[in-house]
Symmetry: D3
Subunit: 146 residues, 6 copies
């Protein structure tokens, strides 16, 4: 059998360069975070710290802060994706908090999830709406004006 | 075995009330359409005219025209959903044309699909980007400024 | 940037025409409902009443009551879809109750979900079977004859 | 590192017992097949004959012939699954032929796919309808009565 | 309407031949099982014994024991599939136990799920990692070395 | 409405640091690539160069080269994911070439896709097998020994 190739391992996530990348991402995450993200990252620390590192350094540092879309626009795309994927209610909950935090109104969030029904069906839209309802209830944002 | 229940059939899609609903939806569709929708609707006429009717009457008349989100915001949600679903490149192509038509720039569309990579993975993001590339090429919109 | 188009908002869901549409759908839903749907609709009332309206008016009034398939046939299609989508156990639970209510037997429901295994894999079939088991247990329908 | 366990390999698909299992499945497949399946099975012969064997022996011999649902009911479940999965147009094409062959009418097939729109969204329903349209066109079954 | 075809039902799962097939599969399952599978199979006994039979006879007897891949390789494929499908956390939990049992290390499992992030997105990778964390916690395998 | 937060944009992908990250990833990609990747990256250059950059810098530089799994193991996970996602045949084609390149045999690849059938269903397994068949045919690797 052919031997698989080998390569240099990546820089340690504890190297100064990677810590600097992480810090840039963490600044973005803190600016948009609706309060749930730190607990998720902390929960990864004893099992997959590299995954946590790259969510922050790549996802927020490299991508989220790019100038092509503002945070409200990014959250609309994200709400669409998470609703369509299904089974990602924990992440949707985080992103509904983030959506509120960057200035989307409860009405806009509900409208995005209602809009989703035509594109990915009522069942997934319902799962997303009931996820939003839990977040809105906890923040005293119910009822939402139609 | 229990007999399944029976009910009144719905109003004909050719009834005056349904034609009025259709006309309201068609006005919305025409306002946002990037040029591909009429061919899709026409292609349904000999196999599923009711489906075409409801896409227009319900999807555009009842939902798309609701005031909670503007068309650019709706397209961002839709781009997220169609990228995440996968296998919906024909519909994504229609919606990339619609996105341009309602004023999203090529840069914003590319950014939405690049943003999607972190949430639904690089393969689906690539499928969406290459769909956008076909639309942009046909409209003379390449290269897209990064 | 191009301004997004604007349009007339849709008829209010509280207009006489929309209330009549809703009533037609509610009659269908009541005829097929296995007992779970009203609670779902009620749970939407303070967050997404328009979504609840359209599930009833469009989903049941416009589509479910069409004469091309009887309710048992529609439920078989729905069981297939919800099993394949995954992550829609709450909706599958509602639809297993509905399936029983329109006259599908527990054996037919189990057979549909067993059949699904070859088309969408054992894991999703198992999720669906265990959802059915919860409904059957609550109705005293276990064990199911093989 | 723990050594992975080893076990007896399964019976050869060329053993008399497996050939008998295959023959039972092939009889079922032939009875329901709409004409596309043999070409699919043949196309597997030089790459994955075991997969072809098990689709026939397990999928048709063990499951499809079970008495709990008749072939029309099984096809309704299958149409729902394949529409919801997305990206399975080649298999959907086979199963639309099979659906016709076991007695579902074009109207029932179209109705199943129209019904699907509410549960998995318009884009996937459209993909399925256009797949059906190709089969119906080839069989001279267009236009379909609404 | 055309009558659907009818066929011989399959051999009973209680026939000697099927019991022998089951026994071969059960030997494989027992060899790789991380401890959760028997409870899943037992839970099917009063609702879908045929599904349980075929998971064992087909899934483990016919497929898992084939010589083309060893159990560790099969588990890597399975971890990839279950992470990508989403909504299959109960099955993923079973398969993380199985993965440990066939000799994959916690580090290899975490690495497989971290690798998955690029291909199916961070949200599904996170769901899988937190499922692994529950299994590792119950087995005293935390923290996992990065 | 709350103003969305703003942040520093990320480092340019043309900065020395990002070019160094890219070079590390490109070395990994070149070592495992089965010949298709450069064309994909080149095709992104006029529409989404940042996406191409991050696939290489993050996907290959940061993740693929991590020591926890060797390339053959990573490819098994990837084959599972891409088969399960569906609709990603272009990416699956690239990764079947990569799988061959890192030393997985055609038999192992076919076995992985056959194994997938039980976990995500025959239709998606068939799509993956026929994608593999195209790659194997082009490389003169047919028939594959069962």
């Amino acid at each position: 059998m052919t031997q698989p190739p080998t390569f240099e391992p990546p820089r340690s996530i504890d190297s100064p360069e990677e810590r600097a990348r992480y810090e840039r991402g963490a600044a973005v995450l803190n600016a948009v975070d609706g309060g749930s993200a730190p607990a998720v990252m902390e929960a990864l620390s004893d099992i997959a710290p590299a995954l946590a590192h790259h969510i922050v350094a790549f996802g927020f540092g490299d991508i989220y802060s790019r100038p092509g879309l503002d945070p409200q626009q990014r959250q609309l795309v994200t709400l669409g994706i998470l609703t369509a994927l299904g089974g990602c209610e924990p992440q949707l909950e985080v992103h509904i908090r983030t959506s509120l935090n960057v200035g989307l109104t409860p009405t806009e969030i509900v409208e995005a999830l209602t809009h989703a029904a035509g594109y990915c069906g009522f069942p997934k839209a319902l799962n997303a709406i009931f996820t939003a309802k839990r977040v809105f209830a906890e923040r005293g944002l119910l009822p939402v004006a139609d």
